[in-house]
């Protein structure tokens, strides 16, 4: 599978997943009906289902998957560890705490109905977490120090989230909302979520693409990269900001969706090699396709499966199999 087929294959898979996301669900549509509905024609019910519900949901899924895939690649290069993930720094936990705080405390503060409060708090939480990690690791910010700071912060933020969850245990509705969000999903994602996530995620992805070559050098050692002409301090700054923004936005619009940033880049690296100039765009495409496919599973088997559960159910065992596979 090495070689030039990688890009076209993943683009094909993404298009397929995207069209399937528009076609499948409670109302099944054929390819012709989907295209007619997209073009503004066809049956009125189909048009409403496709344009008002499935299209925004698929676009959010695409953006979230691309963001998480790209974030994963960046963090793996940053930490020189192919098992790193966006959750590692505490970014996801920070986003989670921010959002849960709005859900738990929002009604008391009169924020309950504000559409923008939750994503905004999630983004603020993610950036606060990244800021805290960088501050903790400021002196001689070595990779080990950053990683350990992330571990400590993750535990702290997780404890905060758990506290908010148990403190609202009496309020069934709030509690359910929090759990719904902690398990991640694309249910009832509409155009406002598309506008919230897609443009900035696309911009973040575009800004990452030219950094692939320098990431190759960084991923084989900071000092050697510096000596070979990479401005390591600057590159690390760019990578940490972009990956935080991408993870925060993905978390803000879809809740916590695990394993995408971990599994997608890892699998693509095993299939197509470690060169980041290829791995970055491939992981964006692959992450988007993987996320849409997982969301499709939640819709085709309506037994209460959540997106975060499916990504973990698919990603976890596959990842374990890869780890055990002889090289």
């Amino acid at each position: 599978m090495r070689g030039r087929a990688a890009g076209p294959t993943l683009v094909g898979l993404l298009v397929l997943a995207f069209l399937a996301a528009l076609a499948f669900g409670e109302l099944r549509l054929g390819p012709g009906e989907v295209l007619a509905a997209l073009g503004g024609g066809g049956d009125e019910v189909a048009r409403t289902v496709v344009r008002d519900f499935r299209l925004p949901r698929a676009l959010v899924g695409l953006a979230v998957g691309a963001a998480l895939g790209a974030s994963g690649v960046v963090m793996q290069a940053f930490f020189r560890n192919s098992l790193a993930s966006p959750g590692l720094l505490g970014v996801s936990s920070g986003g989670a705490l921010g959002a849960v705080a709005v859900l738990a405390l929002g009604p008391a503060l009169g924020l309950g109905a504000a559409l923008w409060a939750l994503p905004l708090a999630s983004i603020l939480g993610a950036f606060a977490a990244t800021g805290a990690v960088l501050l903790l690791a400021r002196q001689g910010a070595s990779t080990e120090r950053l990683l350990l700071s992330g571990v400590a912060l993750n535990a702290l933020l997780g404890a905060g989230t758990s506290f908010l969850l148990t403190s609202t245990a009496g309020h069934f509705e709030v509690n359910a909302q929090i759990l719904f969000w902690l398990m991640g999903g694309l249910e009832s994602r509409g155009w406002e979520h598309v506008w919230l996530g897609l443009p900035t995620i696309l911009l973040g992805c575009l800004l990452l693409l030219p950094l692939g070559r320098a990431m190759d050098l960084l991923s084989l050692g900071e000092q050697s990269a510096q000596s070979l002409g990479v401005d390591v301090g600057r590159l690390r700054g760019q990578l940490i900001v972009l990956s935080t923004v991408l993870t925060a936005l993905a978390t803000a619009v879809a809740g916590i969706v695990g394993f995408v940033g971990l599994v997608v880049p890892h699998v693509l690296r095993l299939l197509f090699g470690p060169s980041h100039r290829r791995l970055l765009p491939l992981s964006m495409l692959g992450g988007a396709a993987f996320l849409l496919a997982c969301d499709l599973i939640t819709r085709c088997f309506p037994i209460g499966l959540r997106l975060g559960v499916v990504t973990a159910l698919v990603g976890g065992p596959f990842f374990l199999w890869l780890l055990r596979r002889p090289r």
Partner: protein
């Protein structure tokens, strides 16, 4: 003009007010006990560590040399080669051309010089320790930089490849380069143009080997009794044919 100059270079707890100057065409060995500061000195000279004092390359303060230009002037090879990702050997060596807009000139020669052409497509994660070090050296060679700082490049190499590395260092120096190599093999250091002896972050010796590596100094710095006797001396076969038995 000096090729590499350090003035009162200090790294807290590791190097103390160390000054030295190396000229073009010089092949210099850096020796000293474990923890003497050899790696720290090489990193500080390469501008990879925050350090007090000043370092100049080719007469220019390194703080004034842009990062890309630095990479064209000086190559540093670390003691460890922590290759985490499975890049093919050829791609890793090609990283030496990053500062030259990835112009591939010299990559094939560097692979050949370090005897790793046959490993070109092999992932670096599947190499022995010695082979990894040769990949690191080939990458440094591919930069074409006139200043080369190598940290214990031969520690994991077999005798032939170690001798080839010394021959390569000698050739680079004879072409006008400046090569500073840290070593534990004092007999190898004896054949360099100059030896720097580091002890507790300070220079304990700096000069031509037979004047510096005396029995007294070796006893003082390394705590060993040295004697000068005839011994096994491995050599590379010359171009003319096999070595005389």
């Amino acid at each position: 003009m000096t090729a590499l100059r350090a003035d009162r270079l200090s790294v807290p707890g590791r190097l103390e007010e160390l000054s030295l100057a190396l000229g073009p065409g010089e092949l210099v060995a850096l020796v000293g006990p474990n923890g003497a500061g050899k790696s720290t000195l090489l990193q500080a000279l390469a501008g990879l560590l925050p350090a007090r004092g000043s370092v100049a390359w080719q007469g220019q303060e390194i703080t004034r040399i842009p990062v890309l230009d630095r990479a064209r002037r000086l190559a540093w090879v670390g003691q460890e080669a922590p290759f985490e990702f499975a890049f093919p050997v050829r791609e890793v060596v090609a990283q030496g051309r990053y500062a030259w807009s990835d112009d591939p000139a010299g990559i094939a020669e560097a692979l050949e010089e370090l005897d790793i052409t046959h490993l070109g497509d092999r992932p670096v994660t599947r190499l022995s320790g010695g082979e990894r070090h040769r990949v690191g050296l080939a990458r440094a060679l591919a930069t074409g930089a006139p200043l080369q700082l190598w940290d214990e490049p031969t520690a994991q190499l077999d005798v032939r490849h170690a001798l080839e590395v010394f021959r390569l260092a000698r050739r680079l120096a004879s072409e006008g380069g400046t090569v500073l190599v840290s070593l534990h093999d004092l007999r190898a250091a004896y054949r360099f143009d100059r030896v720097l002896v580091l002890e507790g972050g300070r220079l304990a010796g700096n000069g031509i080997p037979h004047a510096v590596l005396t029995a007294d100094l070796l006893l003082k710095v390394f705590g060993v009794r040295a004697s000068f006797v005839e011994s096994l001396v491995p050599e590379l076969p010359t171009a003319a044919g096999p070595p005389v038995a």
